[in-house]
C-alpha cells in the first residue's frame, strides 16, 4: 500500500469486556474483549480489524415482536431460555440480546418474574448477554436492580441508557459490575454528552458501548452511518469521551414497507436482505456489535464479514 492507513491518528478505541468465563468469576463459555481499534475497520493494515460480534435478539414477550420472526421461529418465541439456547447452538450467534418486552405491558409490575427470566436465559445459553431492561422510566429502578443482581459476576451489557434516563442503568452497572449501552439519537454531540454524564455518575469508560441509533437502510441509515463515522473519527483523533466501541441494531429494517409488502414466499428473504445489508453498512462504519432479529441473518452476516476480512476477536474461551 502506498499510503498511511492510520491517517496520522493517535487515538485508540477503548476496550470493553463482555461476559465472564468461569475462570473470570462468571459462568459463560466465552468472554469477548472488543474495541482497541486504531483505524477504520476492514483496512489492510498490520493490525487486522476483527469482525463485529453478532448478537441475536430475543424477547420475553413476543406480542410486539416482528411477525416475520415469530412465524419463522414458531413456538420458540414463547420460551426465551430455549430461544436463547437455539441462538447459540443453531443460529450460531456470538451473543444473545434479551429484550424484556414484557415490561412494555400496561401497568407491568412483576419484577420477580423478570429476574427469573434473566436467570433462566443465563443458564440456557453460555454466551455473553445483552439485557434490554425497561422501557418505562417509572419502573426503571426496580427492573435494572433485578437485572443487575440476576447477572452478578457475568459482566452483562445493559441497555439502554439515554440522556433523559440513565441513572438506574448506571447504578446497576456500578453495583454489579456490568457495562452499559449509551444510546443517543443519531447525534455525535449528544453521544458525547451522555458519555460524560455516565462518567460523572461513576461509570468507567471501559464499561460503555455507544449506540448511535440505527435506521433501516434507505430509511435514515445514512444519518446513522455519518454519525458513526464521525464518532469513530473523533475517537481516533483522540477524543476519549467518544472512544468507545459501537453497537448497532438495525431492527427497523424488519418493519419497512418493502419487507411488509413482500409476497409471503419472499418475505423471509426480503427481511434477511434488508437486515444484512444495513448491518454490513454499520460494520463498515465501525460497529463492533451488530444485533439482528432474523435467525438467518446471523449466518449470512458471518459469511459476509469473513469475506470482508476475517480475524477473530480476542476471546477467552473456557477450557472444557
Amino acid at each position: 500500500m502506498g499510503f498511511d492507513l492510520q491517517f496520522g491518528w493517535t487515538g485508540t478505541v477503548s476496550e470493553v469486556v463482555l461476559g465472564r468465563t468461569r475462570a473470570e468469576g462468571g459462568t459463560r463459555s466465552v468472554s469477548y474483549r472488543i474495541g482497541g481499534g486504531t483505524t477504520l475497520p476492514f483496512l489492510d493494515t498490520d493490525r487486522p480489524s476483527p469482525s463485529p460480534l453478532i448478537a441475536f435478539e430475543c424477547c420475553d414477550n413476543p406480542r410486539i415482536w416482528s411477525t416475520i420472526v415469530r412465524d419463522y421461529c414458531g413456538d420458540l418465541v414463547n420460551d426465551p431460555a430455549e430461544w436463547a439456547k437455539t441462538a447459540e447452538t443453531v443460529y450460531g450467534a456470538d451473543m444473545v440480546r434479551l429484550n424484556l418486552t414484557s415490561t412494555k405491558e400496561r401497568n407491568f409490575s412483576d419484577v420477580a418474574a423478570l429476574k427469573k427470566t434473566v436467570e433462566s436465559v443465563l443458564s440456557a445459553t453460555t454466551l455473553p448477554l445483552i439485557i434490554e431492561g425497561s422501557n418505562e422510566p417509572k419502573i426503571d429502578s426496580e427492573v435494572f436492580l433485578a437485572c443487575g443482581e440476576a447477572g452478578q459476576g457475568e459482566r452483562l451489557l445493559l441497555g439502554t441508557a439515554e440522556a433523559s434516563r440513565y441513572r438506574s442503568i448506571a447504578a446497576a452497572a456500578l453495583a454489579y459490575d456490568h457495562s452499559v449501552i449509551a444510546q443517543s439519537p443519531i447525534d455525535i454531540n449528544l453521544a458525547k454528552q451522555l458519555n460524560i454524564l455516565l462518567r460523572e455518575i461513576g461509570v468507567a469508560r471501559d464499561h460503555i458501548i455507544i449506540d448511535p441509533y440505527t435506521g433501516a437502510l434507505g430509511y435514515g441509515f445514512e444519518y446513522s452511518f455519518s454519525a458513526m463515522e464521525r464518532i469513530r473519527f473523533s475517537a481516533l483523533k483522540g477524543d476519549a469521551d467518544l472512544a468507545m466501541p459501537m453497537c448497532c441494531a438495525p431492527a427497523d429494517s424488519l418493519t419497512i414497507k418493502e419487507v411488509r409488502d413482500a409476497p409471503a414466499d419472499a418475505r423471509d428473504e426480503m427481511a434477511v436482505q434488508w437486515e444484512v445489508y444495513t448491518s454490513i453498512a454499520a460494520a463498515v462504519a465501525g460497529a463492533e456489535i451488530i444485533c439482528v432479529r432474523h435467525p438467518r441473518s446471523v449466518g449470512v452476516l458471518k459469511e459476509a464479514f469473513a469475506g470482508l476480512k476475517s480475524h477473530s476477536h480476542s476471546r477467552t474461551a473456557e477450557v472444557r
Binding site: 454531540n189 444519518y223 473519527f233
Partner: protein
C-alpha cells in the same frame, strides 16, 4: 446547655483512653471492607488493639476511628443488639442502598441521634424525611421514642434503627465509606479521595437531639470532616453545629447539602407534554382567551431570595375561569417568582421565555408571543375537564422545577385576573422589560473575554460551529450571548460552550487566536480560521438555520442580504433556497455568511468589509421591519440617507437594475475599497 467545643475536647480524651483499653480481637461478617471507615481511610484492616491504635494515631486521633473500633470490639464481645436494632449492615444490603442513591430513588441520607424531648416532634421530622425521599438512620434514644409514638421502623420504611446509643451512628459513616468504595471508585487507603467523595457526592445530613455524652459529641462533631452539616435542635451551643427548629431542620439540612426533591407528576386535570406544543387552539375550540390585543395581559419572571417564597405556591387574584363568560377575552397577569442558590438575575429573561413552551405543553392551553404582548387561550375541552386558571399556575410551577432542578429550589406563581390589578402590575412589568433591554443593549464584544459556541446543529451540519458574541447573535436569531452563557451554566456539557477569545489577530475582521483554536477543535479539524465580522475572509460556517444570508455582489462592490421568507429571485440571480443549499451544511464559504436579522443592526455588521455602508440590497419586508430601529442607528453613525439608498425588490430585481439604482442614488459602496 452543653458547650459543644468543651464537651468535644473532653470526649476526645476519653476516646483516647478507651482505645488504649481495647483488649479483645474483633471483625465484622458480611463485608469485604473490614472496619470500613478505618479501611477506607488507611487501607489497614483493623482487628485488635495494636491495629486500632496504629490507625487511630495515623488519623490524628480521629474520633470516627475511635468510635468504629470501640463499637466493633463491643459488638464482638457483647454480641449484636436484639431487634429492632440492625447493628452493622452487610455489603449486600449496602450495594442495594448504593444503587438507590445512584439511581436517585433515594435522594440522600440522614442520621438522627440523641433523645427527643417529645416523641411527636421526632415523628414529624421522620415523616418529613420520608416524604422527601431521604433514607434515615437512627441511633440512641430517638428509637424508643419513635416506637412509642407508633412510627414503623425498618429499611422498608426508610427509617433504619442502627443501635441503642448514639455511637452506633458510626454505622452511618461506615455505610458511606463502603458506598464510596463500591460506587465512587475510592481505593482503600486514599483518605483524600474518600473525604472528597463524602463532601461532594454523599448527600448526608446529621440531626442531633439533646442528651449526648462527651464522647458522643466528639464522635458526631467528627463527621464534620466529611462535609455533613450537623444540625442541633436544643441543648447545644458553641462549635460549628447549626441550630435549627423541628419545623425547619429538614429543609435547612437539605438546602445546606444541596439535596433537591424532584417533581415528577403535575397535579392538574390536563395532560402536559411537549407533544402538545405544536397544537393550536382555534377560535371555535376556545373557551376563553387572554391578551392578543383584545385584553391586557403580560408575563414576568422575577428572582427572589431563597426563603422568600414557598415552593409550589399558586395564587389566583381575581375571578376564576368559572365566572368568565365563554368566548370572551379577559385580563391576565402571570407573575412567576423563582429562587435558587445558583439562580442569577441575568437568567430571568431566559427563564421567562420558557413560559411560552410550558403553557403550550398543556393539552388545552396555548400561548404565543412574550412579555406584555402575550396571547393565551384555554380550550373548551380543557375547561370541561375541570381546568382552571389555577392549574396553569401549577403547570408552570411544576415545569420550572422539573426542567431546572439544578437551578431552582422554589417556584411560586401568581395569576392576576382582576383588570385593575393587571393594569397596575403590567405597568410595573414594563419597567422591568425596559431595564433588561438596556442591560443587554449596552453590551459590547470588547467588554467580555468569553464568547459562547453553539453546536446544536451538528446533527445535520457536522462541522458547523456558531460563535456567539454580545454583538453577534447566533445565525438562527434564537440564541443571544446571554442565552449561550446561561445554557452553559445550566448544562455544562451541553451544546453551548465557553470560547476564550484569546489574543487578537485581526481587529477589523474580528479574528481571535482563541476563537480559531476552539473552532478548529469543534469542527473536528475542518475549519482553521474564523473571522467573526467578515463575509469575505474566513466567514463563520453555516448550518442551515440562518435567518438571512449575506453575500457579496462583486459587480456593485457591495453586499446584499436576503431573508428566509423572501420567495423571489435576488439580484445575485439566485433565490434564498438556492443560496441556502449552496452555503449550508457546515461549510465555510468566503463571500457568503448566514446571519440573524438583528445582526444587521449591530455595530459589528459587515465590519470586515467596511460596515453597513456595504449593504446594497435588502428585501422590502425586512427593511420595513427594521426601519424603526435602523433609521436612528444610521443617523447616529452619520449616514442619515443610507436607508433609502439600500435597494429592494421593488426597485431592483436583477444585477443590472441594481447597478442602475445604486448609481442613481449614489450608494457609498460604489466608491469603497474593492471587495475582491
Amino acid at each position: 446547655m452543653t458547650d459543644v467545643l468543651f464537651a468535644k475536647k473532653a470526649g476526645e480524651e476519653l476516646l483516647k483512653t478507651q482505645i488504649a483499653g481495647i483488649s479483645s480481637t474483633f471483625s465484622y461478617d458480611e463485608t469485604a471492607y473490614h472496619l470500613p471507615v478505618s479501611y477506607s481511610l488507611t487501607g489497614i484492616a483493623v482487628s485488635d488493639r495494636a491495629t486500632a491504635a496504629d490507625v487511630f494515631a495515623r488519623m490524628n486521633n480521629n474520633p470516627l476511628i475511635a468510635a468504629e473500633c470501640l463499637l466493633a470490639e463491643k459488638t464482638a464481645t457483647g454480641g449484636r443488639e436484639p431487634a429492632p436494632y440492625t447493628g452493622f449492615i452487610g455489603d449486600t444490603v449496602i450495594r442495594k442502598l448504593g444503587y438507590s442513591l445512584v439511581d436517585g430513588s433515594i435522594l440522600g441520607l440522614a442520621l438522627i441521634v440523641g433523645k427527643p424531648e417529645s416523641a411527636g416532634g421526632a415523628a414529624a421530622i421522620c415523616r418529613e424525611l420520608q416524604e422527601k425521599y431521604m433514607l434515615t438512620f437512627l441511633a440512641g434514644g430517638v428509637i424508643p421514642s419513635l416506637s412509642e409514638a407508633g412510627v414503623k421502623l425498618g429499611l422498608e420504611y426508610r427509617l433504619v434503627p442502627l443501635g441503642s446509643t448514639p455511637l452506633y451512628g458510626i454505622h452511618f459513616v461506615d455505610i458511606i465509606a463502603r458506598v464510596a468504595m463500591m460506587f465512587g471508585g475510592v481505593t482503600p487507603g486514599d483518605a483524600h479521595r474518600l473525604l472528597a467523595y463524602a463532601a461532594e457526592r454523599a448527600k448526608a445530613i446529621v440531626i442531633v437531639f439533646p442528651g449526648l455524652s462527651d464522647e458522643e459529641i466528639a464522635f458526631v462533631d467528627g463527621m464534620r470532616v466529611l462535609g455533613f452539616p450537623i444540625l442541633s435542635l436544643t441543648g447545644y451551643e458553641g462549635g460549628e453545629w447549626i441550630p435549627a427548629t423541628p419545623d425547619t431542620v429538614v429543609r435547612t439540612g437539605m438546602e445546606k447539602k444541596g439535596i433537591r426533591v424532584n417533581v415528577t407528576a403535575i397535579p392538574i386535570p390536563m395532560a402536559c407534554s411537549p407533544a402538545f406544543e405544536g397544537k393550536s387552539i382555534r377560535k371555535e375550540e376556545m373557551y376563553v382567551e387572554f391578551g392578543g390585543g383584545r385584553s391586557p395581559a403580560f408575563e414576568l419572571l422575577r428572582m427572589k431570595n431563597v426563603g422568600e417564597i414557598t415552593d409550589g405556591q399558586v395564587t389566583v387574584i381575581g375571578p376564576e375561569i368559572g365566572s368568565m363568560t365563554e368566548g370572551t377575552a379577559n385580563p391576565l397577569g402571570i407573575i412567576i417568582e423563582v429562587a435558587g442558590k445558583t439562580m442569577k438575575k441575568d437568567y430571568e429573561p431566559v427563564l421567562e421565555r420558557r413560559i411560552h413552551n410550558f403553557v403550550n405543553y398543556g393539552e388545552g392551553s396555548w400561548h404565543v408571543a412574550q412579555r406584555d404582548i402575550i396571547w393565551i387561550r384555554i380550550s373548551k375541552e380543557a375547561v370541561a375537564k375541570g381546568v382552571k386558571i389555577e392549574h396553569i399556575g401549577k403547570l408552570l410551577a411544576s415545569k420550572f422545577r422539573m426542567d431546572f432542578p439544578q437551578l431552582l429550589d422554589a417556584v411560586a406563581v401568581t395569576l392576576i385576573t382582576d383588570k385593575d390589578k393587571v393594569l397596575v402590575a403590567k405597568a410595573a412589568a414594563e419597567k422591568v422589560y425596559e431595564e433588561r433591554d438596556a442591560r443587554i443593549k449596552g453590551m459590547r464584544d470588547a467588554d467580555v473575554n468569553t464568547y459562547y459556541s453553539c453546536t446544536l446543529c451538528q446533527t445535520f451540519a457536522p462541522n458547523h460551529v456558531c460563535v456567539i458574541t454580545p454583538e453577534r447573535p447566533a445565525l438562527c436569531g434564537a440564541i443571544s450571548w446571554l442565552d449561550g452563557k446561561i445554557a452553559y451554566e445550566i448544562s455544562p456539557s451541553g451544546a453551548n460552550q465557553p470560547v476564550e477569545k484569546g489574543s487578537l489577530i485581526n481587529a477589523q475582521n474580528g479574528e481571535f487566536e482563541g476563537v480559531n483554536r476552539f473552532v478548529k477543535k469543534a469542527s473536528h479539524g475542518e475549519i482553521e480560521r474564523c473571522s467573526l465580522y467578515s463575509v469575505m475572509e474566513y466567514p463563520m460556517t453555516c448550518c442551515g438555520c440562518f435567518e438571512c444570508i449575506a453575500l457579496m455582489l462583486p459587480e456593485v462592490n457591495g453586499i446584499m442580504v436576503v431573508n428566509r421568507e423572501f420567495k423571489g429571485v435576488t439580484p445575485s440571480g439566485m433565490s434564498f433556497s438556492t443560496l441556502a443549499g449552496t452555503i449550508g451544511g457546515g461549510a465555510q464559504t468566503p463571500g457568503f455568511a448566514g446571519i440573524s436579522k438583528n445582526y444587521i443592526l449591530s455595530d459589528r455588521f459587515l465590519q470586515g468589509e467596511g460596515g453597513i455602508e456595504r449593504l446594497v440590497w435588502l428585501p422590502a419586508q425586512v427593511k420595513d421591519e427594521l426601519k424603526p430601529r435602523l433609521l436612528p442607528l444610521l443617523a447616529q453613525r452619520g449616514l442619515p440617507d443610507l436607508f433609502d439608498k439600500i435597494a429592494d425588490e421593488t426597485n431592483a430585481t436583477t444585477i443590472e437594475e441594481l447597478t442602475v439604482f445604486l448609481e442613481k442614488v449614489g450608494h457609498p459602496a460604489l466608491t469603497m475599497k474593492p471587495l475582491v
